[in-house]
Symmetry: C2
Subunit: 356 residues, 2 copies
């Protein structure tokens, strides 16, 4: 119970600072502390912290990982999506467990109003079904404050399949309707750390995957695609943000979130900081001119598991193939038109078509 009280008190402290219009640094520090306490709470109780609702069962979770298998047979962590349930993963339960929010009709209406555009069918059909703090981004957008998009890809092979492209197709739509900068991180360092490949292979996958991403139709004037192996060594600001994040995250915390153990290499253990750094606009001084307060929206897949395709009947499979084939063929055609020069342009650190 002690940790529950700590989170509650810290939550009050943050609200008080905001009400009293404290400096950004003070509020940020308090929020950071709050998030750390919430994480401790989750690790200790196995439950999301909810205002006014003490933990229903204070028995500590024995597992190292937050990604616990529950009664429904679902198992989801950053690398695995499995279920023993014939109906598939229960994503509504997952939203509760991950502490995110459902994208409801109200939010979709608000997006349409803010952008003056019909919502993408991925939103209307619930393909993108969960979010965190999108209302906050829309608050800013409605008062003419810009934000930026950050998404990424772990380049684990030369070819990206349709499932890998879904987040990029949706991201392109977001970029079009909101008219904002986009940064795309290719985590070739991560793939080198996790897989039995060389740095050279990982970087080669980055270049091939970048072609697939460009072929989704991104505007070169609004998009920066980067390889970690290449860009981190070109940006002192990025590395400085990595070190800042690394200072404020303990091994206990990454153990809890990612399930790392003592025999994991130190590269894996510190990797979460590399993936967090792009969510700070100061990691891209060439784009944001050193501004610290640009919010970031991260479109990403809660999982990338399409293996349940094998459960489909032959008839449904046929329809799907007929529908998908022209989409894939069009993508392949566009991909062939992506030149090395275009790849270089997208991957050059530079100012984009926005003034920050």
């Amino acid at each position: 119970m002690e940790i529950y009280a700590k989170v509650a008190v810290q939550g009050d402290a943050v609200r008080l600072l905001k009400t009293n219009k404290a400096t950004k640094e003070e509020i940020d520090a308090a929020v950071k502390e709050l998030l750390a306490l919430k994480l401790d709470y989750k690790t200790l109780t196995g439950q999301e912290y909810k205002v006014g609702i003490p933990p229903t069962n204070s028995t500590p979770v024995n597992s190292n990982s937050l990604a616990v298998e529950e009664d429904d047979g679902d198992y989801v962590d950053p690398w695995t999506v499995q279920t023993s349930n014939a109906k598939g993963v229960d994503y509504d339960k997952l939203i509760v467990r991950f502490g995110s929010n459902k994208i409801d009709q109200e939010l979709i209406n608000r997006i349409e109003q803010a952008t003056g555009q019909k919502a993408h069918h991925f939103l209307r059909r619930g393909i993108f079904f969960s979010h965190r703090d999108v209302h906050q981004i829309l608050d800013a957008f409605e008062t003419k404050k810009s934000f930026y998009l950050y998404t990424g890809r772990g380049p684990s092979s030369e070819a990206m399949h349709m499932g890998h492209l879904i987040p990029f197709i949706f991201t392109k739509w977001l970029q079009d309707v909101f008219d904002v900068p986009l940064v795309v991180q290719l985590t070739d360092d991560e793939k080198y750390l996790w897989k039995d490949i060389t740095l050279e292979q990982a970087y080669k996958y980055t270049i091939e995957n970048t072609k697939d991403i460009i072929a989704c139709g991104f505007d070169v004037n609004k998009t920066f695609i980067f390889s970690d192996l290449d860009y981190i060594g070109q940006s002192p600001r990025f590395y400085q943000n990595v070190v800042k994040i690394q200072k404020h995250v303990t091994f206990n915390q990454v153990k809890g979130i990612f399930g790392f153990g003592d025999s994991d290499c130190i590269g894996k253990i510190s990797f979460p900081a590399i993936q967090a750094a792009p969510s700070f606009s100061t990691s891209f001084p060439q784009i944001f001119n050193g501004q610290k307060d640009i919010q970031c929206l991260i479109p990403c897949a809660i999982d990338q598991d399409y293996s349940s395709g094998k459960l489909l009947t032959g008839e449904l499979k046929k329809i799907l193939i007929e529908t998908l084939q022209p989409i894939i063929a069009a993508h392949q055609t566009r991909r062939k038109q992506v030149t090395d020069e275009m790849v270089k342009q997208f991957m050059t650190p530079r100012k984009l078509a926005f003034n920050f």
Copy 2:
């Protein structure tokens, strides 16, 4: 005993590969495996592996750290040097425990012969008393193969005292007599991670400490001084080497060597890779033109503890002060002549006066 046999077998394997002139990659891989096994051996037995001498006592060491306090009351790890023995730390025992070698008269003679110079009094008087593989460096040097020097400094305050300067004074002598490139790493990222200071403060200490180092008289055409916070983000090759090292070191290993625990931040845990990277010449493509086989000699202090000064008698103290004061005054005079422009020159990644 099993681990003892494993090390012995792997040692034979390495010798066999060398005899059969296997490829560099094969030998390197085998050596890496051997070193890992030796480390395991040390962790399990608390003893250095010695050919033909099985462990005298196979009881596992319970401590996480190799830096165990022994009967003599000495405690030495990378951050602490303490002894409860009135005679001070027994460095001969330390050499045995660290698995390094004593700098003996034979080695000093060989250095004088190779360089054609009288050995520095720090060598003759045993101030620098321990080494690893210096004979290997001399073998190369005698066949006209160059090497380079790498040393560093954790910038923890604005002023460096005499003790901090000793390794640099000796390094300058090495550079002069061997005529080789020198890289100096200022680990401001480390100090930020370990201490309660901001990135800006850490970087400020770097600049001030760099002035002290330059004042030791280093040749700007042969010396590259760098801040981690600055240079890592200017060198993709350096970052790529960091990732390579991070992949091959586990948390268990750094736990054993540095005594890290689960509540340490992930920055500390992965930091050893940052400090190891400069010992690979490919981390400095501007200096070594991408060459992989340049050996590196690392002059460094086995400790930096001068607190036993308080045990000196007043008379001895007086003599020391009289001897040191002119040295310090001369250094201060030179330091005042170090301009911002000079600092910038030393800290600019560039080709040095050597052709690789």
